[in-house]
């Protein structure tokens, strides 16, 4: 098959793709336009991509101090990153091991355990806020100089988020591992590899696209989550970006400062977009192609 498309088809596909791109970009252009507006209007009245007298004032205000809390944007961002990376790492590390077991082994209780995983997967995080809140509230960590309440810390929020992310990681990775042909493992086993070597040297490298996708989705959840963190954290030093963004809407409910809010929203989205672009290489490369002939 040649890599060239006939021009007519190319143009048709381009028109389709452009239309979808326009639909996706429309609300984003709207936010960009609001964030540049110097008038800090409460309600926009016209559609302009670049409003008259566009300025970056809203951005500088947000970097200094997004809300009334004495916390800078950088501190908030650091908290969000720690939380998101921790949750993503924990869920794909534990998740891929369990997924491998479910995908490649036949054992007693396999079906029951899988059903229990998907049973928990069904549960929304809202549905576990109350018990996690009550239980983590009882754990006080006291190691020498380090002393904190588990519930009122990013560790507690991280645990709570991992409990909601792990079932999805297991399920999604299992779905992907199932699509990896077993011929490679058969070949390696005949060459004398034991199960752990099969996992580390054969299956895991082939699962990198799925690990990237799953880890990325867990990262997004951690980065944008606010229900748990909003319920758990009370110290402004622990607040996350998502919480502050919500804080900005809540604070001014009737007349949100749309320019500041839009600037903040775009700055929250930016690091996520960068991480995505970095990972895209792994997501795109189909590593199973050509391995089995």
């Amino acid at each position: 098959m040649s890599d060239r498309l006939p021009l007519g088809k190319q143009l048709l596909y381009q028109a389709l793709a452009l239309f979808i791109a326009f639909a996706v970009l429309f609300p984003i252009a709207w936010v960009v336009s609001l964030s540049l507006d110097p008038r800090d209007i409460s309600r926009p009245t016209e559609l302009n991509l670049i409003p008259p007298g566009a300025s970056l004032t809203a951005y500088t205000q947000v970097i200094k101090q997004p809300t009334n809390n004495p916390v800078s944007f950088a501190e908030l961002a650091f908290n969000s990153f720690r939380l998101a990376f921790g949750v993503a790492f924990a869920s794909i590390f534990v998740g891929v091991l369990a997924a491998y077991s479910f995908s490649r082994f036949e054992f007693k209780g396999r079906r029951a355990l899988m059903v229990s995983v998907i049973t928990v997967l069904m549960l929304p995080s809202v549905a576990t806020v109350a018990p996690l809140f009550v239980l983590l509230n009882r754990i006080n960590i006291d190691i020498g100089a380090i002393e904190f309440n588990m519930r009122n810390s990013l560790w507690g929020v991280g645990l709570a988020l991992t409990s909601t992310q792990l079932p999805f990681a297991i399920w999604n990775l299992k779905g992907y591992l199932d699509t990896i042909p077993k011929d490679l493992e058969e070949a390696a086993r005949i060459d004398g590899a034991d199960p752990n070597q099969l996992f580390v040297y054969v299956t895991l490298p082939l699962a990198i696209p799925a690990l990237a996708v799953t880890g990325f989705l867990a990262f997004l959840t951690g980065f944008t989550e606010f229900i748990m963190s909003w319920q758990f954290l009370s110290n402004p030093k622990d607040f996350t970006l998502a919480m502050s963004l919500w804080n900005m809407t809540g604070q001014f409910s009737g007349d949100t400062p749309w320019s500041k809010f839009s600037a903040m929203a775009l700055m929250v989205a930016l690091p996520v977009a960068v991480v995505y672009l970095v990972l895209q290489r792994y997501i795109v490369s189909g590593l199973t192609i050509g391995s089995v002939k």
Binding site: R4, L5, A17, I28, L97, A130, L135, R138, G175, W258
Partner: protein
């Protein structure tokens, strides 16, 4: 895991003790359990134990007075919370609450959303996978944006776009209408607030307010890119030779799509669709921040109601009971979809 390393493929040919034979015969099972240990430990501690605790909470009148760790334990009140929810006694505390209407709307919301997400997701993934398409990377980067943006941003921005006076939707429709000589006042649509169902002359008998349609549009915008990510990953693991062979045998692109692409991406799409159903059923942020369940609780879903019970009403025991009910509703939903799609079957090439 290390103890399972060396007995994987030992044949029981040489003289062995029964114990060694047992070791060899269970090597596979022990490896399987070994890989499960971390997940078992983590989930037991932070998932299953809190869930059991929640069940206990649901039989109590757990309230704000019982929150502190040194506070008195709540009273056991048996099934009262459940009875109040099902019989509508709860409506005395929470206005316009009706369990069965809530459940019906939540199901309709889910099954009017997910099929659109999956179909659009697969079609757009196939479009992006066309060989030789220009600007693929640009499109991929753009199409990911709806998942990249925090849902609370999306919800608030779309809420603003559906604003009656200055929302982008009404403004855009007015400027298009102007070209055809329609007065802009026609497009001052009250998307979130209007109670009476829209287009009553066109769709007689439907009872959903406009806010449902506004959120449907928003959720389609939000939902398909995830399906495209999953479908793209699966598409890229399909060997290109399959299509070449099919093309040589004279299969049309449509036949190739239905006989090669769809069956081969099914193992990845089925878990994604099930996940989508559950995510949409529990789509908290969008509903809570766009319509707030309004007007008159008509677009309230179960999780926003549960959150309202915790956050607004502070009836923790009642909320726990409500969450146990959510659990069983979701369990039924999952078992149904599971049976329908046979998702727990392993895919064998």
């Amino acid at each position: 895991m290390a103890n399972t390393a060396n007995d994987w493929q030992e044949a029981p040919s040489e003289a062995q003790t029964p114990f060694q034979r047992w070791l060899a015969s269970t090597a596979s099972a022990r490896a399987a359990y070994g890989y499960l240990v971390p997940a078992f430990f983590v989930m037991g501690l932070i998932t299953f134990y809190p869930l059991l605790f929640q069940v206990w909470m649901s039989f109590t009148d757990y309230g704000i007075a019982n929150l502190r760790f040194d506070a008195p334990a709540p009273n056991l009140i048996g099934l009262k919370n459940y009875i109040d929810i099902f019989t509508g006694v709860l409506a005395q505390k929470v206005q316009n609450f009706s369990f069965w209407r809530l459940l019906a709307f939540n199901l309709f919301w889910t099954f009017s959303n997910v099929p659109i997400h999956v179909a659009l997701g697969i079609l757009i993934a196939v479009l992006l996978n066309v060989k030789g398409l220009w600007f693929k990377k640009v499109y991929r980067a753009i199409y990911i944006l709806p998942i990249v943006l925090p849902t609370l941003v999306i919800a608030t921005v779309w809420r603003n776009m559906f604003d009656q006076d200055s929302g982008a939707i009404n403004l855009a429709m007015a400027s298009i209408g102007q070209v055809f000589g329609v007065a802009p006042e026609v497009f001052r649509i009250r998307w979130m607030e209007s109670i009476e169902p829209p287009l009553a002359w066109l769709l007689p008998g439907q009872a959903l307010p406009l806010s449902y349609y506004a959120m449907l549009i928003t959720n389609i915008w939000l939902g398909w890119p995830f399906m495209t990510i999953v479908a793209t990953g699966a598409l890229q693991s399909i060997p290109g030779d399959l299509y070449e062979a099919a093309a040589i045998d004279g299969a049309s692109p449509t036949q190739q799509f239905f006989n090669i692409t769809l069956p081969l991406i099914r193992p990845a799409m089925v878990p994604a669709a099930m996940y989508g159903i559950i995510m949409t059923f529990n789509l908290f942020n969008l509903i809570y921040m766009m319509s707030g369940g309004g007007p008159l609780r008509k677009t309230q879903i179960m999780v926003t109601t549960a959150y309202d019970l915790v956050n607004g009403q502070r009836l923790y025991g009642m909320a726990a009971a409500f969450c146990v009910i959510i659990f069983f509703v979701l369990l039924g939903l999952t078992l149904l979809t599971n049976r329908f799609t046979k998702a727990t079957e392993r895919y064998d090439v």
